[in-house]
């Protein structure tokens, strides 16, 4: 084979690669759009009035996840199934965001941490690499860390809305999460950087709890919903 023939063949491979990436990018864009819609919807819970209809918002968000599932299903078809990590970078970010959104919905519904299997099910993908398009563990953990920041914010806003018990529950939850993350030996990568931010979320929530405690507001917390600032 002559040198130029070899390069023609290689160029063909590279072009095919680029075409795949182009296709993936298109689907990822639609996914990002859906993720933004869900986020906008869920941001409503931070508003004073939003606390009452959390279940309704969650239900709506769940409907949107149906769209996510079809979009992810079409993403799967865009590349060979055994080359997930070759194109991983393209959907990594949006997948982390979707994990966060799913985790947020689940937290709002049940106040527990969503498991990796459950997220995968909500997104209509696999939790296990062997079974196809899956959720990478680092992406899952990244999404969970985003949830922590969001909950720190929710703690603040729920106090403003007069709900004094929620911050206490969030505090317990975040503390448990923090202990969980402490178990992990993270490398000096992006996940580690995200994890380093967790302590600020913990601190923020502790401050909120502190403010409530010294004023004795946590005592009336159990019946305290509805009080206005």
């Amino acid at each position: 084979m002559s040198v130029s023939d070899m390069f023609i063949a290689l160029q063909g491979v590279l072009t095919a690669d680029q075409d795949i990436r182009e296709e993936i990018r298109k689907v990822v864009q639609t996914l990002e759009q859906t993720a933004r819609e869900i986020l906008t919807l869920l941001q409503g819970v931070h508003q004073g009035a939003g606390f009452q209809d959390i279940p309704k918002k969650c239900q709506k968000a769940r409907e949107h996840f149906g769209t996510v599932r079809t979009q992810l299903a079409s993403l799967k078809t865009k590349f060979p199934a055994d080359q997930y990590y070759r194109f991983h970078e393209h959907w990594r970010f949006v997948l982390q965001r979707l994990v966060f959104l799913a985790a947020f919905v689940v937290y709002l519904e049940t106040e527990t941490l969503v498991t990796r299997e459950a997220v995968a099910e909500i997104l209509g993908i696999e939790a296990d690499r062997e079974r196809g398009f899956h959720l990478d563990i680092e992406d899952y953990l990244s999404g969970v860390l985003t949830l922590a920041s969001e909950l720190a914010r929710l703690a603040v806003n729920s106090v403003t809305a007069g709900d004094y018990s929620r911050p206490l529950r969030i505090s317990t939850f975040i503390n448990e999460l923090d202990s969980g993350f402490r178990l992990l030996n993270l490398k000096n990568d992006s996940l580690r950087k995200r994890y380093d931010g967790l302590k600020y979320d913990v601190k923020k929530i502790e401050e909120v709890v502190y403010d409530l405690s010294i004023r004795g507001l946590n005592k009336e917390a159990t019946g305290g919903v509805g009080g206005e600032k």
Binding site: M6, L10, Q11, Q18, R86, L113, V209
Partner: protein, 290 residues
Amino acid sequence: MSSKEGSGGFRKRKHDNFPHGQRREEKENVNPSSALMMSFKSFQLELDTRHDKYERLVKLSRDITIESKRTIFLLHRFTSAPNGEEILNESEAKLDAVRRKIKQVAQELMGEDMYQFHRAISPGLQEYVEAVSFQYFIKTRSLVSVEEINKQLIFTVEDREEITNTTSSSQDKQTNTWSLKVTPVDYLLGVADLTGELMRLCISSVGNGDIDTPFELSQFLRQIYDGFTFIGNTGPYEVSKKLYTLKQSLAKVENACYTLKVRGSEIPKHMLADVFSTKTELIDQEEGLS
């Protein structure tokens, strides 16, 4: 740290039983066997396994790089040494050693998505491509294809004895071949590095009074350069970056050929070596600077 009083107010428990310091005390309500903690324990295991594998691959990749570099240096001696055949044999042995390392990589990647760990092994593979293609060029004066390289990277169970005592205690019994594929991009980057070696080969062969090799090399390099310009920026960023170095190497070889042609007519052959040995120094200095 500032939250001691804060939590003290709302969780009235004795701190004395927990001598682990303040942060731990706050977590006293965290049940170590809760579902969340259990799942994080499994994450710990999963992440550690992954990181360990990655580190092992990085190390192998480094070994591959070092051995490949040594092979290249060895092959550079080919032009000056009279015992060419011997050096080729020696280089073959060295490359075999490199391939055994690559086999270990292939075994590590068994059942994994190769691209997940691609960044760990890519530098080693590029260096290997460079060494193999350099040897191939010296032998056949042509460019080795990516298919041919990959053909050599299919390992069967035969030479298993040699490595069983090192890493492969965990190999699957039902599979008896391992293979690793050099990606087109790694191949391209390796070939781009090859041109640098060829440039050096060209200059030193002139130094040894070999007048034909430079012309052959310049033609060969031009073909590769044409190939790379054909690819242009379809490839990833690294490929286009190498294009610049490639151009410089080509220019040096072309200039050498030019000088050879012009001066060759007036300087006797035995003195040409002197003219070029000063030239080589100049180029080496430039190399050192860049």
